[in-house]
């Protein structure tokens, strides 16, 4: 089995993944890394899986207590606060965890990157999808439980919510690719990310509806792609609106654009990982 494997120095970035052998390699590596991420992170440790589910549930409980009992925010219109926050909080926490994990994931593969030639984006793909797929499962579980507890949820809304998760995964992967590649060179990315994500959470209508935001600021908050995703999930799961709207297409375009930009950035920087990891 002899196939040409040309590596030209001035090759453009787009041709790296062109050969079919690279694509099949990417697939099998992704599969290995993915299984490894899931096993090592959630199944390998005794409390890992439980903690992955417990963390959002605990946060949800705290927010519920603080907002309904302490602040007495009450319900937003007809919506129950618990269901209202649960639908939006989980995707945010999942994205947050996916981003912070993916940012530092390359360094745990440093030995491999320094000594073997392979498409390194497989590492980021595996890290992000491992986190997000587990949270999708957790999300469905929690929604079912809330429904059984009598919360006003329209579970058929998952028909919209799950494709939105997919859009989310694509977009988050793009951001993760950019952050992971930057982290190799700029070690403080991971530290800056923590407060940024915290601020991001409060600037996204997760704990409050967009309608409560003062009108002057509202377009800015709405411009956040995550606001759109969250709003659509609420439409579907709380109000049972099961039709796609034109804005969903925009969301797809934004997600794909984020992914493409992240991947382009990653590929620009990837040739230098070996030297900086």
């Amino acid at each position: 089995m002899s196939r040409p494997l040309p590596i030209a120095a001035n090759e453009s970035l787009t041709s790296i993944a062109a050969s079919p052998s690279t694509a099949s390699r990417l697939r099998s590596l992704f599969r290995l890394f993915y299984l490894r991420e899931v096993r090592g992170r959630y199944l390998g440790t005794s409390t890992g899986l439980a903690w992955a589910l417990l963390h959002p549930i605990a946060l949800l409980g705290v927010y519920w207590f603080v907002f309904t009992t302490v602040f007495r925010a009450g319900n937003f219109g007809s919506k129950s606060f618990l269901a209202f926050v649960a639908v939006a909080l989980w995707p945010w926490l999942a994205a947050q965890e996916a981003l912070s994990r993916a940012t530092v994931t390359l360094s745990s593969y440093a030995g491999l990157i320094r000594k073997a030639a392979f498409p390194q984006e497989a590492i980021v793909y595996a890290s992000v999808t491992a986190t997000l797929t587990l949270h999708v499962i957790g999300y469905i579980l929690v929604l079912v439980v809330l429904k059984l507890m009598g919360e006003p949820l329209q579970l058929e809304g998952l028909v919209i919510a799950l494709p939105l998760w997919l859009v989310l995964i694509v977009g988050i992967t793009g951001v993760a690719l950019a952050l992971a590649s930057l982290q190799v060179f700029l070690r403080d990315v991971e530290h800056v990310l923590v407060p940024l994500l915290m601020i991001g959470m409060y600037l996204t209508p997760i704990l409050y509806p967009l309608t409560l935001v003062p009108e002057g600021v509202r377009p800015w908050v709405a411009a956040n792609p995550f606001s759109w995703v969250v709003g659509r999930m609420r439409d579907a799961l709380l109000d049972g609106r099961l039709a796609f709207v034109p804005g969903d297409a925009v969301a797809v375009v934004v997600a794909v654009a984020l992914f493409a930009a992240g991947l382009a950035m990653f590929r620009r920087l990837a040739p230098h990982f070996e030297d900086f990891l």
Partner: protein, 388 residues
């Protein structure tokens, strides 16, 4: 078709010299602009390998050997030039190369296969053979980070061999592992080379380079210093090191002035640039004597590192010089045959007073004994194999 072809390959590493330079570097890289300040790890490497034509890479530490091997293995993308590989490459770069320390040994087998682009069923088919060759027992299910260095090498070698590579890249990893495993490796290596396998070997052992490789590349500060047949390159490389060592060791105490060598000539009797050990060479020395008395000359041969091999004096041999002028005396001496092995040597001459007591002057002429051999040392001693 060439198995491997490198054309003008070079690699620059960005240098970070100031605070904030990381941000600037990332910005430049993202724009596709070359980094401002770089370290040239490798430059101007052009070479080609055919099937069965193993190549040895030699050079001092930091000469760019590992970078070159990594470029061929595809781990490092060259900054300049092009690399063309027609075949499957397996690399054993350093200890535990390509292993993920947290993965179990068996998971690393899957990983190595996937890295090389093997289908899962191909890997599965080879798994048994790899585990058998590595022979590390139950440890195969433990994470690689718990392995001893010997076990890591065993597994690495077992994987590399099972993947039947067209080119096997390796640096010095054979020195690890116990006796029986080393034997297994050598047996495998011989079979591999016999079957037309090709090695890209990075080694400090000139013996191995000469034994295993057809060609050799000598890297010096990232640049090719010599590229040619392994025997010649190994000989030059050794001579370079001998000469370098010599620079650190002090000379014989020599008194300046008085009796001085005015000329020292070495003429190979085969009239070539290199001395043919069969025909030898002739030496002519002229010494100026301040008091017109006939001086004594010391003539000897030293290795490039200054180790004396043989020396004699006109006084020991009871020879008087030929008088050329009032204060000048000449000596002519012929070495008819030299039992020296190919390599770099120097002819050394001292002037001495007529009593043969004080050494006055030192002159040297370097020379090269031509030919190629895999004998060891620097001098051929007469011998015979009695059972043959």
């Amino acid at each position: 078709m060439q198995l491997l072809e490198l054309d003008g390959v070079g690699k620059d590493y960005p240098r970070l010299d100031a605070v904030g330079s990381r941000v600037r570097l990332v910005y430049r890289l993202l724009r596709g602009v070359a980094p401002g300040s770089v370290f040239r790890a490798l430059d101007g490497i052009t070479l080609s390998m055919q099937r069965g034509e193993s190549l040895g890479v030699v050079g001092e530490n930091g000469a760019g050997k590992s970078t070159l091997l990594k470029i061929v293995a595809g781990v490092v993308k060259p900054t300049r030039g092009s690399v063309q590989v027609n075949g499957r490459i397996a690399a054993l770069l350093e200890l535990g190369s390509g292993f993920h320390p947290d993965y179990a040994g068996s998971a690393n087998i899957d990983l190595a296969g996937a890295l090389l682009g093997l289908a899962p069923e191909e890997i599965a088919a080879k798994r048994e053979a790899i585990i058998a060759f590595a022979d590390i027992g139950d440890h195969i299910d433990d994470p690689v980070k718990t392995y001893s260095s010997g076990m890591v090498v065993r597994l690495g070698f077992a994987i590399a061999t099972a993947l039947s590579p067209d080119v096997l890249i390796t640096d010095e990893v054979f020195a690890v592992g116990d006796e029986s495993f080393q034997k297994k490796c050598i047996t495998w290596m011989e079979r591999y080379l016999e079957d037309g396998g090709t090695l890209l070997l990075c080694s400090h052992s000139m013996y191995h380079v000469q034994k295993l490789c057809v060609n050799a590349l000598w890297l010096d500060h990232g640049k090719p210093r010599m590229y040619g047949d392994a025997t010649t390159v190994a000989r030059e490389y050794l001579a370079f090191h001998e000469a370098k060592l010599q620079a650190h060791t002090s000379h014989t105490q020599v008194i300046a002035g008085d009796y001085r060598i005015t000329s020292l000539q070495l003429v190979p009797l085969n009239h070539g640039a290199e001395v043919d050990p069969e025909s030898g060479f002739r030496v002519s020395v002229t010494i100026r004597s301040p008091d017109a008395r006939p001086p004594v000359v010391v003539i000897g041969i030293v290795r490039a590192d200054g180790t004396p091999i043989y020396g004699t004096t006109s006084e020991v041999d009871g020879v008087q010089p030929r008088r050329e002028a009032d204060d000048r005396y000449g000596f002519d001496l012929t070495f008819e045959a030299l039992p020296l092995l190919p390599g770099h040597y120097r002819l050394r001459a001292h002037a001495m007073d007529p009593e043969g007591m004080r050494v006055f002057d030192l002159h040297e002429v370097p020379f090269v004994i031509g030919g190629s051999t895999r004998e060891l040392g620097f001098c051929r001693l007469p011998h015979r194999w009695d059972h043959a």
